[in-house]
């Protein structure tokens, strides 16, 4: 019985091979996908580039009764990556060309098991960049710790801060400080809080009123701590109240509505709009404009910069916000990291220039390395 069964299969295979000719396998190969967690296989076939047909890829686990659909592709693709498999199991594949029409089925492939790999080789470019950045930033931080003198140029707009506080003091009006609308896991929020510390020291020194409305509870807690600390350092702790830094709501527009209300009711002499902003940027800055406040803005949200540039007196563009914060903080460690970041920028510039030369010379390999996936 057993032998006869084998014979039958062999005969059938020969018959199918003869009938289907070369088409039977269609160049079907199945391999382990490199650099993965051992849960995918890559299926390849002879992809005739101009074929308009579809192909359905079917898989069968060893000992399973039936084929199941792994996915669909086009014959022209020549490749399909089947994800989400079990790594100990073995799979066999077959192709169904033009499943909606003639539905020609290929012979099945041998069984293959997905293998687990150690490292995602195709992400080596990211590793290089992360290591380079890490070495530069940490290196300069360590240099700063050893007392190296790190130069950062003065940012335009910083002088305006003192001027704005001075004007508010003369006019006897308050200063409104908006630290953006999101939480402290956003770098821009932290940069803004650094500048807030400086502003609060000035207002403490001159006895000017300061108000900091918040859209995020964590940012509020941090802002309150910083303002308190600044008043303490400026020797005017009696002027600090908790209510200077208060919370409104998480919703961006409800927040903007409320801050606009504060602006038109209290008419602050100066508005600081520094941090992460979305559409409320112009809602706030135009209202501030209408009450003739001096406005100092800054964000790395490139989509909001045009509005700040149009409606504010001074705008810190993108990275300038980070640099300004580091500059004012005078914290050598943070200055060091800004320096490291600057060096990384120089490295990228060099890479871009080399890349342009390579591309011009027709050496595509260098360029492609940047997004090998």
């Amino acid at each position: 019985m057993r032998v006869r069964g084998w014979l039958f299969l062999v005969l059938l295979a020969v018959a199918v091979g003869a009938a289907g000719g070369q088409e039977a396998r269609m160049g079907l190969t199945v391999e382990d996908t490199p650099s993965d967690d051992g849960r995918s296989l890559t299926v390849r076939w002879d992809g005739e580039a101009d074929s308009p047909l579809d192909v359905r890829i079917e898989r069968r686990m060893r000992d399973a009764a039936e084929y199941e659909i792994a996915g669909n592709a086009r014959v022209a693709d020549g490749e399909f990556r089947d994800l989400g498999l079990e790594s100990d199991a073995a799979y066999s594949y077959r192709l169904v060309i033009d499943p909606e029409g003639a539905a020609r089925t290929s012979a099945p492939s041998p069984y293959v098991s997905p293998q687990e790999n150690f490292f995602r080789l195709f992400r080596v470019n990211a590793l290089v960049v992360i290591l380079l950045m890490g070495v530069l930033v940490v290196g300069y931080i360590m240099a700063a710790r050893r007392g190296a003198d790190l130069y950062i140029r003065r940012i335009a707009g910083l002088d305006a801060i003192d001027e704005a506080v001075g004007r508010a003091t003369e006019m006897g009006r308050k200063i409104l400080y908006v630290p953006g609308i999101i939480s402290i896991n956003e770098p821009q929020t932290l940069a803004s809080l650094g500048i807030l510390g400086y502003v609060a020291k000035l207002t403490a020194k001159y006895g000017t009123q300061l108000e900091v409305p918040n859209a995020d509870p964590l940012t509020m807690a941090a802002a309150r701590e910083i303002v308190k600390q600044s008043y303490l350092e400026a020797g005017a702790p009696e002027q600090f109240h908790e209510n200077m830094v208060h919370y409104i709501t998480q919703d961006q527009f409800a927040y903007a509505g409320a801050v606009n209300g504060i602006m038109v009711r209290d008419k602050p002499a100066a508005n600081f709009l520094l941090g992460w902003f979305a559409a409320e940027s112009l809602l706030l800055s135009e209202t501030g404009q209408s009450i003739n406040a001096i406005q100092i803005a800054g964000t790395a949200q490139v989509t909001q910069l045009p509005f700040f540039v149009a409606a504010c007196d001074y705008t810190m563009l993108g990275e300038e916000l980070f640099a300004a914060s580091a500059y004012l903080s005078k914290d050598p460690l943070i200055l060091g990291s800004i320096k490291g970041q600057d060096m990384m920028k120089a490295a990228i510039l060099v890479m871009v220039v080399v890349g342009v030369i390579m591309a011009t010379a027709g050496v595509q390999g260098f360029v492609d390395w940047f997004t090998a996936l």
Binding site: D37, G38, R120, E225, I248, F253, A279, L282, F307
Partner: protein
């Protein structure tokens, strides 16, 4: 304990996704996937963290009878009503016994109160954009003039009428968007990405500790 533990936790939590990004081993990946699932849940709790602050701030105003305290009462009331719809009710529509549908109260308030408020606040920008462009786009200096030229070309190029008056202007507008604009945006994107990455590294080595309530 109060300072060291959070610093260590933050360093570990920040390194893990980076390690999983490079090393596909199943043990690492499975835990990383678990971590992703956890974060979805923790983010939900974090989203609501402001409630207590909001209630505290408004209650304090009412208690002090501060100027405009009545508006704080209104805020608290609106919050209580909407939150209870959200906690005890559902979302979308319910089908009634007679086959007709009725909006859940939560969705009703969303549709007829929240959504118009949000949209209208947002639409004020149409007016502000007009008044800001009137003021800002002057031939004061080279920078302002470039700002003006960019804005006017795109504004004319993006409307159907523009093509009727200047047939080539949509192409010019598209060219500006595709080349000079994309180049400048790219410069800012790279710069901002570097800023964010440097900040991440500062947190990873523990010099920046936003989770301790100070920066």
């Amino acid at each position: 304990m109060k300072r060291q533990v959070p610093i260590l936790l933050a360093i570990a939590a920040s390194l893990y996704p980076v390690i999983a990004f490079f090393f596909p081993a199943r043990g690492i990946n499975t835990f990383n996937q678990g971590l992703d699932e956890w974060m979805v849940i923790i983010a939900s709790f974090a989203l609501l963290l402001g409630i207590i602050s909001m209630i505290q701030v408004n209650l304090a105003k009412v208690r002090r009878r501060a100027k405009g305290w009545i508006f704080s009462v209104l805020t608290l009331l609106a919050f209580a009503v909407m939150a209870s719809f959200g906690i005890f009710g559902g979302q979308g529509e319910t089908v009634l016994a007679d086959g007709s549908t009725r909006l859940e109260p939560f969705t009703w308030v969303f549709q007829f109160m929240y959504s118009p408020l949000q949209s209208t606040m947002f639409s004020l920008l149409a007016f502000y954009v007009a008044s800001a462009s009137y003021r800002a786009f002057r031939v004061r200096n080279i920078e302002a003039t470039l700002l003006l030229i960019g804005a006017v070309i795109i504004m004319i190029g993006r409307i159907p009428l523009g093509k009727l008056v200047f047939p080539f202007i949509p192409e010019v507008a598209e060219w500006i968007m595709k080349y000079p604009n994309a180049a400048a945006q790219r410069g800012v994107i790279i710069g901002a990405a570097l800023g964010a990455a440097a900040m991440s590294i500062r947190v990873m080595v523990g010099i920046e500790r936003p989770y301790l309530g100070k920066s």
